[in-house]
């Protein structure tokens, strides 16, 4: 920190940030407590992070399904393979688009609000007040948001996948006249429960964890000023998007 040079800025700073985030996570995990009050608070966070994101997830999911089917159907019919559209749709949704898009949308909708909320609590000294009342803010503020988001993201991924499939059905079956039995039959014959769907849901859990961790971390470490909170909110979205896309590649490479 005392010698701001080129290698220091390029390597040491991000590394130190990563270390801080890791220590923050370990602290939060080590102070986990399961009480009745905590479960109620976690459920409330599932509401704020999950239910409040439903509109954007359902809308985006439906249109992603529509446009994905439109593009692949157009391409596949040139090769006389229009019936394979449902397979392409289901595989790309379950394996990649569902988890990745949901995590990024979640960071934009719920992650930012978690960061801003915690950052503002810090700026208005509410966290210090909790500390004074001998209430651990890690346990009272951080933990429910961490677990709430961890539950909400896989649930949102499932809902995203269903609505995107419905979008695909709407375009392929209702508009283009693909036979519904062929549509579902091809999908059922090709998509594997464990390998395709299961691995996708594993990704969903990992991304939910990432999104929750980063959102809470940036809120917790935000400078207690209005600029600090604004910066932290932006960082949440950028960091989550980058982390999700990079880790998605690593996970995909391992799973295939």
């Amino acid at each position: 920190m005392n010698s701001p040079g080129f290698p220091n800025r390029l390597f040491a700073q991000p590394l130190r940030e990563l270390g801080r985030a890791l220590i923050f996570l370990l602290t939060a995990l080590s102070r986990m407590r399961l009480t009745r009050l905590q479960i109620g608070e976690t459920l409330r966070q599932v509401y704020f992070a999950g239910v409040r994101s439903l509109v954007i997830i359902v809308t985006c999911g439906f249109f992603v399904g529509l446009v994905l089917t439109l593009q692949t159907y157009d391409t596949l019919t040139r090769f006389g393979a229009g019936d394979a559209v449902s397979v392409v749709l289901a595989l790309s949704l379950f394996r990649e688009l569902g988890p990745v898009l949901t995590a990024i949308l979640f960071a934009g909708r719920a992650g930012t609000s978690i960061t801003a909320e915690i950052g503002l609590m810090k700026a208005t000294e509410q966290l210090d007040a909790l500390d004074l009342m001998a209430i651990d803010p890690m346990e009272r503020i951080v933990q429910p948001r961490l677990i709430g988001s961890l539950i909400a993201v896989p649930a949102l991924v499932l809902i995203f996948n269903v609505t995107a499939l419905l979008g695909g059905v709407a375009f392929a079956v209702l508009l283009m006249g693909v036979d519904p039995i062929t549509f579902w039959g091809n999908m059922q014959a090709t998509v594997e429960l464990g390998r395709d769907f299961g691995h996708g849901m594993l990704k969903a859990v990992v991304f939910g964890f990432l999104a929750a961790w980063l959102a809470v971390y940036f809120g917790w470490t935000a400078k207690p000023t209005s600029e600090g909170v604004a910066l932290a909110t932006t960082q949440t979205v950028i960091a989550t998007a980058i982390a999700v896309l990079v880790i998605d590649f690593v996970l995909s490479a391992f799973m295939l």
């Binding site: 459920l43 409330r44 599932v46 509401y47 909400a152 649930a155 499939l165 429960l193 769907f197």
Partner: protein, 153 residues
Amino acid sequence: MKSSHQIELTAGLFLLLAIAALVFLAVQATDRGVVSGGSYTLTAHFSNVGGLKPRAKVSMAGVTIGMVESIQLDPETFDAVVTLRISDQFDELPEDTSASILTAGILGDQYVGLEPGGLFDPLQDGDRIMITNSAMVLEQLISRYLFNTEGDE
């Protein structure tokens, strides 16, 4: 602002919706884990597997009953050893069942077709299918055809 009771109720409904989505996707949009559920393995030796790939279908009478788990080269006989994973539902395959590598359509994927024999003893987990037909390799067929026609003239 909703009361905390309502919020918890909505959160519960949300999770219920997610579970419904999970069930819908698992049942309607996937193979329901037929093969990855209860299953047993058989091996078969082929002198040439052609373009057969792991995860290719294993079918009997046109019905998919399993998939190819792995393809390896036997270091001693230089045969290809194909491990087949067959669903538990079909554990009564006769001992003299034969396996051939077939192609779906002209340019389709290659798969393993099983043909039942007539013996009463069923194949057990880990057994080897003794009667096998290797894949047709187009180049070999063409060269054989050319060779034969030349010989006729």
